[in-house]
C-alpha cells in the first residue's frame, strides 16, 4: 500500500470577487478511490488543481501524508494528475511519454525504458511503445496517460474527468480497468466527474459538490440511499418528487401534505411539523399497483409512454404538470396504452423526506 492520505483544512479559493471553493474540510484516506461528483463549474476541478499544486488556496491548508503542501510546487508533490485532455506529448513516442517523468528525475535510458515497458504491459499496451500518441485510439491514449502518471510512482493519482471523451462502451470498460489498476497499485485516487454512474461504480466514497460547497461525503451506498440534501438526492439518481409541508412526525417517519394528498415517508433529519419539505422516492422503489397489490402511499396517474433500455424499462406517467417514472426489470412486463388510468404507489420506508432546497438540473 503506497497511497497517502489527503486532508483539506478550511481550504477555500477566490478568483477576484468569485469564490470558487468555500472553506472546505475533507479527509481522503490512504489507498482509497474517492470521487468528487458535481455539475460543471461547481469547483471540483479547482480542488484538484489545488491538491496537485497548480493553484494555491486563498485560505486553509492542504496536507498530503500528514505533510503541509504550502509552498511546494507541482513538480515536488507526491501527486500525478491525469488531465481531461490527457495532455500526452504529441512529438514523443508512447514509450518516451511514459518514461518522461523518470527522465526528468535523471534515471538512465536503460532502466527508465524497462520501467516504461513494465507500465505499458500493466495497461495492456506492451507492443505500442514506438507509436506516437496520434496513432492510438481514444482508449489506448487514455491508458498511456495512466501509465505515464503511474511511472513516477505517485502516492496520489488525480483524475480530471478522464473518461468524458470516450464512447459509452469504452467508458464502461475503462471504469473497471481503472478500478483494477487502483486496487493493484494501492495508490490513492481522487476522481473528478459529473457522471454519477462513474462515481457510483468505481468509488469507495463520494463527495457531492455544488457551487463551491461539498454537500455530502459518504460511501456510494450512503450517497445513493441516504442523500442529505435535495441537491444530492436529485444529482445522484432519479426521483419521483412531491413538495409539501410536514403535518405530523412520529418515530423516524413523517407525513407530508402535498397536492395529491397526505404521503408518508422516512424523516432522516427529524424535520419538525410545519417545515417546507420534499418527499423523494426512487423510480425502482415506486410500483404500478394493480387490483390486489397495496402500498402505503398511492397516487392516481395517467400512462404516457415507456423507454425500453434492454434489461429494464422506464414507464412514464403524468398528472397535471408532474411527471413520474417507474423503473421495472424486463421480466413479465405488463403493457399499457397511452392515456390508461393507473395507480402508482410506494411504502413509507422507501421514501425520504428532506428539507426543501435547490434541485440539480435535469
Amino acid at each position: 500500500m503506497r497511497g497517502m492520505d489527503i486532508e483539506l483544512k478550511d481550504v477555500s479559493i477566490r478568483f477576484g470577487d468569485f469564490t470558487a471553493v468555500y472553506p472546505t474540510n475533507l479527509k481522503v484516506n490512504a489507498g482509497e478511490f474517492f470521487s468528487i461528483l458535481g455539475p460543471s463549474g461547481c469547483g471540483k476541478t479547482t480542488i484538484l488543481r489545488m491538491v496537485s499544486g497548480f493553484s494555491n488556496p486563498t485560505s486553509g491548508e492542504i496536507l498530503i501524508g500528514g505533510q503541509s503542501m504550502a509552498g511546494i510546487g507541482p513538480d515536488k508533490r507526491p501527486t500525478a494528475l491525469i488531465f481531461q485532455s490527457l495532455a500526452l506529448f504529441p512529438l514523443m513516442t508512447v514509450r518516451e511519454n511514459v518514461a518522461f517523468g523518470l527522465e526528468m528525475r535523471g534515471m538512465a535510458r536503460g532502466p527508465r525504458n524497462d520501467k516504461a515497458q513494465e507500465l505499458l504491459d500493466l495497461v495492456a499496451l506492451g507492443d505500442q511503445g514506438e507509436k506516437i500518441p496520434d496513432e492510438l485510439s481514444g482508449g489506448q491514449r487514455q491508458r498511456v496517460a495512466i501509465a505515464r502518471a503511474l511511472a513516477v510512482e505517485p502516492a496520489v493519482l488525480l483524475l480530471d474527468e478522464p473518461l468524458s471523451a470516450l464512447d459509452l462502451k469504452l467508458r464502461q470498460h475503462m471504469r473497471s480497468e481503472l478500478r483494477d489498476i487502483q486496487r493493484k497499485t494501492g495508490v490513492t485516487f481522487i476522481y473528478i466527474t459529473h457522471d454519477q454512474g462513474e462515481a457510483l461504480t468505481m468509488s469507495d466514497r463520494i463527495a457531492v459538490m455544488k457551487a463551491g460547497v461539498i454537500e455530502q461525503v459518504g460511501t456510494t451506498d450512503q450517497v445513493y440511499n441516504e442523500p442529505s440534501t435535495a441537491f444530492a438526492a436529485t444529482f445522484v439518481g432519479a426521483n419521483n418528487m412531491f413538495k409539501g409541508k410536514i403535518t405530523k412526525t412520529s418515530k423516524g417517519e413523517a407525513e407530508i401534505e402535498t397536492k395529491y394528498g397526505l404521503l408518508r415517508g422516512t424523516n432522516p433529519q427529524n424535520l419538525s411539523t410545519g417545515s417546507e419539505a420534499i418527499l423523494f422516492v426512487r423510480p425502482e422503489k415506486t410500483l404500478v399497483l394493480s387490483g390486489k397489490e397495496k402500498a402505503e402511499n398511492t397516487i392516481d396517474v395517467t400512462y404516457e409512454r415507456r423507454d425500453l433500455e434492454g434489461a429494464f424499462v422506464n414507464l412514464h406517467f403524468q398528472r397535471e404538470d408532474n411527471k413520474f417514472t417507474v423503473h421495472q426489470t424486463n421480466v413479465d412486463l405488463k403493457s399499457f396504452d397511452k392515456g390508461d388510468q393507473c395507480t402508482i404507489g410506494f411504502d413509507a420506508r422507501a421514501a425520504m423526506i428532506l428539507p426543501d432546497g435547490e434541485l440539480a438540473d435535469e
Binding site: F54, D75, T79, L81, S85, F89, L91, F100, M104, E135
Partner: protein
C-alpha cells in the same frame, strides 16, 4: 471540376475570370520579364525597345563591381545580426503576452507591435541619434539594431501565433511529472516551436535584406546591396542592376521549387505514416 465551375458560373463570368487572370499575371510578371530581357541587351541603359543585340557582358560588369560585392557582404552580416537579436526578443515578447495573463496585456501588445506602424525612416534616425549620444556612429551595427526594432515585432507575431495554438496543459503535465521550468522549455516548448523558429529566421533574414528606408539613415557611411542600388538611381541605371534582379529571380524560383518538392515529400511521408 470544370463541369461544376461552368454550371455554377455563367459563360459570361467565365470569360471575365479568364480576362482578369490574364491582366493579373501581366501586371505581376510583365515588369519582371522586361527587366530580365533588358539585362541581356547590349544597350547601356536598361531598355527593351532599343535592342542592340544579346549579351552576357553586364554579368561581367557586375562581377567587377566591388561596391556591389561589399554591399552584399554587409547585407548578409546585418541580416545575421538581426536574426541574433530579433529571435530571442520576439520569443520573449510572445511568451510574455501569451502566458502572462495580465490586464496590461493589451497595452503590452500595443507597445510591442508599434514599431511595425512607425515609419522606417523614424526608426533609422532615432537609432542613429541614440547611439551617437553613446559615442557609436552610424554603421553596420546601428543598421542591424535599427532593423531589429521592427523585425522583432514580426518574429514576435509569428511566435505568438504558434504559442497560442499550444495546449498549455502539456507544459503543466510536464511540470506535474517532475520537470523543472527549464526542462519544460527544453523538452516540450522548444520542439513545439521548432518549425516557427526556422520560418521566423527566414522572414527576419528577408526583411532585413530588402530593407531600404531604415537602413539608409542608420548605416552612416557604410552601405548594403540595397542602399547601393538606391544611391546609384541618382546617376541613372545600368543594366548591371538588372542582372542583380535576374540572379534574385533565379534564386527565388530555385528555392521555391526545392521547398515545394520537399513539402510534397513530407506530406507523402506523413500520409504514409498515418495510413
Amino acid at each position: 471540376m470544370s463541369n461544376v465551375s461552368s454550371s455554377s458560373f455563367g459563360r459570361g463570368s467565365q470569360i471575365i475570370l479568364n480576362v482578369y487572370l490574364v491582366i493579373f499575371f501581366a501586371y505581376m510578371f510583365l515588369p519582371l520579364i522586361l527587366m530580365v530581357a533588358a539585362g541581356f541587351n547590349e544597350f547601356d541603359t536598361p531598355s527593351v525597345t532599343t535592342w542592340k543585340g544579346f549579351t552576357w557582358k553586364w554579368f561581367g560588369v557586375l562581377a567587377q563591381d566591388d561596391r556591389m560585392w561589399s554591399g552584399l557582404v554587409n547585407s548578409i552580416l546585418i541580416a545575421v545580426g538581426v536574426i541574433i537579436v530579433s529571435m530571442p526578443l520576439g520569443l520573449a515578447g510572445a511568451f510574455l503576452i501569451t502566458r502572462l495573463q495580465s490586464r496590461y496585456n493589451g497595452l503590452l501588445y500595443g507597445i510591442m507591435v508599434s514599431p511595425l506602424l512607425t515609419p522606417g525612416i523614424i526608426l533609422g534616425i532615432s537609432t542613429l541619434i541614440f547611439w551617437r549620444e553613446g559615442g557609436v556612429s552610424g554603421g553596420l551595427f546601428t543598421a542591424a539594431v535599427a532593423q531589429a526594432t521592427y523585425i522583432s515585432s514580426y518574429t514576435m507575431l509569428m511566435f505568438m501565433a504558434r504559442l497560442k495554438r499550444q495546449d498549455v496543459t502539456l507544459e503543466e503535465a510536464a511540470l506535474d511529472l517532475g520537470a523543472s521550468h527549464t526542462q519544460v522549455f527544453r523538452r516540450i516548448t522548444m520542439p513545439f516551436l521548432k518549425p516557427t523558429i526556422l520560418t521566423a529566421a527566414v522572414i527576419a533574414f528577408l526583411q532585413s535584406f530588402e530593407n531600404y528606408n531604415t537602413t539608409i539613415f542608420a548605416i552612416g557611411g557604410s552601405h548594403t546591396l540595397v542602399t547601393e542600388i538606391g544611391s546609384r538611381m541618382r546617376f541613372g541605371l545600368s543594366p548591371a542592376v538588372n542582372v542583380i534582379g535576374i540572379i534574385f529571380v533565379f534564386l527565388t524560383i530555385t528555392f521555391a521549387t526545392i521547398y515545394v518538392i520537399f513539402r510534397e515529400r513530407e506530406k507523402k511521408r506523413v500520409s504514409a505514416l498515418m495510413g
